[in-house]
Assembly symmetry: C2
Homo-oligomer: 302 residues x 2
């Protein structure tokens, strides 16, 4: 398996100012693997669900190249459930409930054919699990990308610092980059994070696009302008999946390839925002994806 | 006079989370004319001050190509004074005081040689004064650019709608575009504003860059990444001045020219943020400006 991801596979209950939905299919690894397999052809998932997770959706994922050999199914237990409410701006949200369920005792156990993966996406999860996944690899992967969030900065800072030192690329949102470093300037925040080990940093700004930093280069990709944002849940994960899926497909980890990967990830994220849960992402055709990638180029061309 | 602007020439008292300054030189027309004259060589100013406005600074402006024949000086009266406080994010602020002083009774009276201007920048001001300036022109200028703000939406909506129908380009910030149109999506907000008459709309997003819309095209320019934002006051006006100054210099009002003009305006705005008041803008060299314009191209090149 060339590309694997670890992250949640879960249910989300989502309230936007316009509509609410209960127990939509969600989870970081769900969105990452869908977007990544779309580009790369396959993506292995390391995660856990209860026996309440729908078999039909697992079959849907499998039919799209998502390998579920690394997905543990716990009989008699419930899947992870997140509940959140978006503000009027649809760019910020409050978490209403986090029911860990099966995730409380999750210990990843990588199938043998995952342990030689060259591309590893560590989706947002407790840093100790992200570290455990890396420790099970037979050799250092070609590229490890880490996504994280402010919650882990508060409750697992030491592990988080440690995993930052074990990866090649970190993706984080702008406010979290500021919080993590204590720097208001994103330029200074990026420089600080890059001293921890990663060779590249992606700062996600939601509807304001994304920045890619290396030690001496910076690249900016705007976000797609949408008629309507229906539900941004999973946009960051679709972005990450599109990013690593593109790099795995091209088998290229250069800064230049990362620029194109960010544009591809941004296009993936824009589709996810157009409906609740993974519904919009499930319907994307190759023509639609290519057309959207081209729009990004047109938007910034002087 | 090829290029003129109307707007405030004023004093600002500015508090940031890090430092405060009393009675710094400010005003929309001050920043606009400085940035515009920098590019175009000259810019006429239609405004009013009291006898408290420093002669030395007026001479400094004149030495830089800013023509003050349209600046009324009211003996025994005080200049307009704005006082504001920036939030921790340095991207939003509260107005603490607005002392209109000479501005309360301001009636613009354009010098004869301003009335044939081809490029007119209507800086943020009561819409009735912006209209009065346009009504004094001998012929329809080649390009009229309007800047405005939410305050006028609340207190002078009718005049504001009217002046929107008299101009070629509107510049407005993202939250104001949403407020003005009632649309959350900037794409939809832009489409609505363009139905009012302007052929182009610039939506300013501060540290998140700027969008340029026409009926069928969209362009995005990121904001410069700065080590430190010292004081963003005047950034939007420096942007507008750089925008119209570039177009006047090139004598080109095409969409393609506007793209380059936005990048130039963004560079001007970035300098303004690096010190209080117009101090940083006063020190910019041509080499620095060109270098910064090039950074924008590098940032978005895939």
């Amino acid at each position: 398996m060339k590309l694997i991801t670890v992250g949640t596979v879960a249910f989300d209950s989502i309230a936007t100012p316009f509509e609410s939905r209960e127990k939509v299919i969600g989870g970081a690894a769900t969105y990452i693997s869908m977007a990544a397999a779309y580009l790369n052809g396959e993506c292995g998932v390391v995660s856990v669900v209860g026996d309440d997770f729908p078999t039909a959706f697992m079959n849907e994922l499998k039919s799209r190249g998502v390998d579920l050999a690394g997905l543990q199914i716990k009989e008699g237990e419930k899947s992870f459930h997140w509940s959140g409410k978006y503000h009027m701006d649809m760019n910020s949200r409050d978490t209403l409930a986090t029911d860990l369920n099966v995730l409380a005792t999750f210990e990843p156990n990588l199938p043998e054919n995952y342990r030689d993966a060259e591309y590893v996406m560590l989706g947002n999860l407790v840093p100790a699990v992200q570290i455990a996944v890396l420790n099970q690899m037979n050799k250092r992967p070609k590229l490890v990308v880490l996504d994280t969030m402010n919650f882990w900065m508060d409750v697992a800072r030491e592990d988080l610092d440690k995993v930052f030192g074990m990866v090649d690329v970190v993706t984080i949102n702008d406010e979290e980059a500021r919080q993590y470093t204590g720097e208001r300037s994103l330029k200074k925040a990026a420089a600080k994070i890059l001293t921890l080990g990663p060779k590249a940093l992606i700062i996600k700004k939601g509807e304001h696009g994304a920045l890619l930093f290396s030690q001496d280069e910076v690249f900016f990709a705007p976000a797609m302008l949408l008629d309507d944002v229906v539900d941004p849940t999973g946009a960051g994960d679709s972005f990450a999946g599109g990013f690593i899926g593109y790099l795995a497909k091209m088998n290229d980890t250069s800064f230049t390839a990362m620029k194109k990967a960010i544009v591809t990830g941004s296009a993936m994220a824009s589709f996810t925002c157009e409906d609740f849960g993974p519904d919009a992402l499930l319907k994307v055709t190759e023509e639609q994806l290519n057309a959207r990638v081209n729009v990004f180029g047109d938007m910034v061309r002087v």
